[in-house]
């Protein structure tokens, strides 16, 4: 129950921050995707079932607030969260940099999936932005993951 309320609170705060503060955190014109960072971070801590459910709900909320196709972010966030745990299995050692590396790999997959689906559903792809997104998005997300993940892990251990 504690985990449920914590996730709900975290999601609401993240949605509010995503539409306010992150507008000012731009690298190469690319905005931090805090929702994805939170989804992946919590998935790595709470496991597969949580990853699927939280990824889906965070995605649905993103679809409503920021999206143009209902279900797009829900699908992509859920798949990314699920994949993040598979990627993590490649790392045998627990090291503070591992979540950031997982984040970088998963963000590349996220960008690829989002653009492929959006493009196939008639969305326009701005080439310059796509290249910037492929380069900078994983870097910003990875960097923020380094800061945020230990904090969420600490709260998570208190909830377990």
């Amino acid at each position: 129950m504690k985990k449920f309320f914590f996730s709900l609170f975290l999601l609401l705060i993240t949605l509010a921050i995503q539409s306010t503060i992150t507008n000012y955190i731009l690298v190469g014109g690319i905005q931090l995707n805090l929702i994805l960072v939170i989804v992946i971070s919590t998935s790595l801590i709470f496991g597969e079932f949580f990853a699927i459910i939280f990824g889906f709900f965070a995605g649905i909320c993103s679809d409503f607030l920021f999206g143009h196709i209902l279900g797009l972010f829900a699908f992509v966030n859920m798949i990314s969260a699920f994949i993040s745990l598979k990627v993590k299995r490649f790392f045998t050692q627990e090291h503070y940099i591992v979540p950031a590396i997982v984040m970088i790999i998963v963000t590349e997959i996220w960008v690829f999936l989002t653009y492929i689906i959006s493009f196939s559903l008639g969305g326009e792809v701005i080439q310059g932005n796509l290249i910037n997104k492929i380069i900078y998005q994983p870097l910003i997300n990875g960097l923020v993951m380094l800061i945020i993940h230990p904090m969420i892990k600490k709260i998570g251990s208190l909830l377990k």
Binding site: L15, Y24, F49, F64, F75, L121, G123
Partner: protein, 281 residues
């Protein structure tokens, strides 16, 4: 049943079941996307519910970060402030002379207006709203504002500021609304060149510029020309400044001129907007 409830609430079920849940949710995503493509009003309906929950938090976060953002912007501006001061002093001198002339014109204008009745703009009632959130991606450019249906805000109302046109209301909830910016890739505004009155359509590009489309290659235009709303289409009132022409190309393979517009508003710095509440075509 109790066991299932316990498992769900503790968010831990066997791994085999996870794949089934994943499959079900993937199907659900596809169903939702299909419904959304067929029934376009699903997204705005859900959005107004989410807005009611998230917007108070957005408002609080904006309130907390605004002083920091303002300070950072001020520090950034400090570097060029001496040069800006010299330019501004020159401008003040020029403007003082112009002011005397304009005061005379204003008096004359007032007298003429009294003779003709009220001016065009005085017909509009505007409502001030604060920007509490922004959503600027490749696919969507929008703002969230702190006024909704409780403040008589309705869908399709025009949103402006002192510089010019910002966009229109696309979603409303009781206390919050979403404004689709003119830079949104799906935004279209009927517009015209202020001097020549030649009409066209302003389209968003998703970036910081706009495209002035459907303008014949024979039409004479120059960079720096001011583009205003034409009033056609009935959503935006006529005469609101949209931007300035900064690039014109006549490409052989295109039917119309390729015109790029720099918006009159700087969308990065907007904190407050005005909503025209009583415009009807």
């Amino acid at each position: 049943m109790r066991e299932v409830y316990k498992k769900v609430m503790t968010l831990s079920v066997p791994r085999r079941q996870n794949k089934i849940i994943l499959g079900i949710l993937i199907v659900l995503c596809i169903v939702l996307a299909s419904f959304n493509l067929k029934y376009q009003n699903i997204l705005p309906a859900g959005k107004s519910i989410i807005l009611e929950v998230v917007s108070p938090l957005q408002k609080a976060v904006t309130f907390l970060i605004n002083p920091f953002i303002k300070s950072i912007k001020t520090i950034n501006k400090l570097s060029g402030i001496l040069e800006e001061n010299r330019i501004l002093t020159e401008k003040v001198n020029t403007l003082l002379k112009e002011n005397i002339y304009l005061k005379e014109l204003e008096r004359e204008n007032r007298e003429l207006r009294e003779l003709l009745g009220s001016s065009y703009y005085e017909k509009f009632e505007v409502k001030l709203a604060k920007v509490i959130g922004k959503n600027r991606t490749d696919w969507k450019n929008s703002f969230f504002i702190d006024k909704g249906t409780n403040h008589n805000i309705k869908i399709n109302m025009s949103v402006i500021n002192q510089s010019g046109l910002i966009g229109k209301i696309i979603t409303t909830s009781r206390n919050f609304s979403e404004v689709k910016l003119i830079t949104d890739p799906n935004s279209s505004v009927a517009a015209m060149v202020q001097d020549s009155r030649k009409t066209g359509i302003i389209q968003g590009t998703g970036g910081n510029t706009l495209k002035f489309d459907l303008v014949s290659k024979e039409v004479e235009m120059d960079t720096g020309d001011i583009i205003i709303t034409s009033g056609l289409g009935g959503i935006f009132p006529e005469g609101i400044q949209v931007g300035r022409v900064f690039d014109i190309r006549n490409l052989d393979y295109e039917l119309y001129k390729n015109i790029k517009i720099l918006p009159a508003c700087n969308f990065d710095d907007i904190e407050e907007v005005l909503i025209i509440t009583n415009f009807t075509h």
